[in-house]
């Protein structure tokens, strides 16, 4: 199965990417997956261009295809100004609105302090609910202090198990379904 990891970390090395990698590895322990990581930093310019000209450049289009074709997603953002980062939101703003419908998604975030941990449920969960994704019950938030504390490994394991369980049931994007024209016309005449 195909797992795509979307990471919006900006620095190198990035704790956002670190969390993303740990989540992906945990999923792989539950069920073997092909992992593809989409680093949004590398796509920042193409994402901005898609806002101005309406179509995706080559690298962004490839990332979008990977996301649409995935059996499951892990999405990880740093917390900026009490929410997901603008780059993270922008990637999903320019994604096809049906690309995530029915797709299992594990939400995760990183921040400097645990005070922002509800960003998962107040910002990420509504965003992915709007996109009609199936968001797994456990989200994973890692504050700086969590990297030296107990609990993160357990939450990572639990969330990964939930995603692994849902992935075989997810919806993968295929050819667009077109209602044959006669049916479309008939529906209006009913």
């Amino acid at each position: 199965m195909k797992l795509v990891v979307v990471s919006a970390g900006l620095s190198v090395p990035s704790s956002t990417r670190l969390l993303a990698d740990r989540l992906a590895a945990a999923v792989d322990r539950h069920t073997p997956v092909d992992v593809r990581v989409v680093e949004l930093r590398e796509l920042a310019v193409e994402i901005a261009h898609m806002f101005t000209n309406g179509f995706a450049g080559k690298a962004l289009a490839a990332a979008q295809d990977a996301v649409a074709g995935a059996d499951g997603l892990i999405v990880v953002t740093p917390v900026f100004s009490a929410s997901y980062s603008g780059l993270f939101k922008s990637f999903f703003d320019v994604l096809d609105k049906d690309a995530l419908a029915g797709k299992p998604v594990l939400i995760a975030a990183t921040g400097g302090t645990a005070r922002h941990s509800l960003v998962l449920d107040h910002a990420l969960r509504p965003l992915f609910a709007y996109l009609r994704a199936v968001v797994v019950p456990t989200g994973v938030y890692a504050a700086s202090e969590d990297w030296g504390a107990e609990g993160l490994a357990e939450r990572t394991e639990r969330a990964a198990g939930e995603l692994a369980a849902l992935m075989p049931l997810g919806v993968r994007a295929g050819e667009p379904d077109i209602v044959p024209f006669a049916e479309q016309l008939a529906a209006l005449q009913r």
Partner: protein, 363 residues
């Protein structure tokens, strides 16, 4: 194969001078551009329809009627006519009238508009956009194909014993193209009726255009109108030329960088690589345009956008001279080369009339 130009009718400041033409100047410029198109041997002039600034062409048949009176050969068309928010009865009447005045030199392209608010401005619901396009066009067809129409639908007041006048010239309605950039439903509609499908590819990468055109061709065959290769396809293009390509790039760059649609985005170089835009010598324009065939197949109509982004009229007229003299004659020859005999030309009034006569003889 038909070659022509299509205009959006935008009133845009010239970024090199800061001067904005008046609406009147722009409208007159559009007419001058159409007349030039005929003069340099192009086949088609198409105008957009918009109901918001900074665009002037809200009333296409008025403009096309005026151009019809001042031309002899040019086919007058639209890019596009809003099938969603115009009353289909008025479209049927206006374009039949234009057809008579222009002696049959008329076709039109259906579209759904460039801005959301146009729906409420005309009392329509944008969420019904596709359904409006479907139902309104079904009524338009009947108004042209049947002398007396009884009709009831979801979006318009019913008609009892209604006859749209004038009747289409020679009982042959204008040929219809359906324009869409990303809605497969519209390609499906075009295929169902055996109408033309125009993909305005000018801001889109080739693989997207390829998918849409292939889908239309497949469905055209599915509905029994011919082979996929016989479907009627039109494409857009966008060019700026000078004898030396460096001069073209230098002159066009400020217009590109400030263009209303794509300005302030990717570089001219990136955009020309990814989309049909060609800024360079006539030879480069020829090569790029010929490459459309590689992903769209042999097609019937090529329209170029030549007059947007604040380009002054004088420059546009120079561009049209080059297009007509140096580019299109070569394209005609090259596109004809290797084109299978059973791929039809774009339908015209004469060809549709002849086809109707054949049908009558058979019946």
């Amino acid at each position: 194969m038909q070659f022509g130009i299509f205009t959006v009718g935008d009133v845009t400041p010239d970024p090199t001078t800061g001067r904005t033409p008046t609406e009147r100047e722009r409208i007159k410029a559009m007419v001058a551009i159409a007349l030039k198109a005929e003069e340099v041997g192009l086949d088609v002039f198409a105008t957009g329809e918009h109901h918001n600034p900074p665009f002037v062409p809200s009333s296409p048949t008025t403009m096309l009627g005026y151009i019809a009176a001042r031309t002899e050969k040019l086919i007058l068309s639209t890019s596009t006519t809003l099938i969603t928010t115009n009353d289909p009865v008025k479209i049927a009447e206006d374009f039949a009238m234009l057809q008579h005045l222009a002696d049959g030199r008329v076709d039109l392209m259906m579209g759904r508009g460039n801005t959301g608010p146009v729906y409420p401005w005309f009392g329509k619901d944008i969420r019904e956009g596709i359904n409006l396009a479907v139902e309104n066009y079904a009524l338009l067809r009947r108004l042209w194909d049947e002398d007396v129409v009884d009709w009831e639908g979801k979006f318009r007041t019913p008609l009892q014993g209604f006859t749209s006048t004038p009747r289409p010239m020679d009982d042959v309605p204008p040929f219809v193209w359906h324009g869409s950039i990303r809605s497969p439903e519209i390609a499906e509609q075009a295929a169902y009726y055996g109408d033309g499908f125009f993909h305005n590819n000018i801001f889109w990468p080739a693989d997207h255009t390829k998918r849409m055109v292939e889908f239309y061709r497949k469905r055209f065959a599915h509905y029994g109108h011919g082979t996929p290769e016989q479907a009627i396809v039109g494409l857009g293009g966008q060019v700026f030329m000078r004898k030396n390509s460096q001069d073209a790039v230098r002159e066009f760059r400020p217009y590109f960088d400030n263009a209303p649609v794509y300005g302030h985005g990717p570089s001219l170089e990136d955009f020309t690589e990814q989309t049909p835009l060609t800024v360079g010598s006539p030879q480069q324009v020829i090569e790029k345009t010929l490459s459309f065939r590689e992903y769209a197949g042999d097609y019937q109509r090529q329209l170029f956008l030549m007059d947007h982004a604040g380009l002054p009229l004088k420059t546009v007229l120079e561009q049209l001279d080059m297009l007509g003299e140096e580019v299109v004659p070569v394209l005609r020859k090259e596109f004809a080369d290797g084109r299978p005999a059973d791929v039809p030309q774009a339908p015209t009034h004469q060809s549709l009339l002849a086809a109707a006569a054949r049908k009558e003889t058979v019946a």
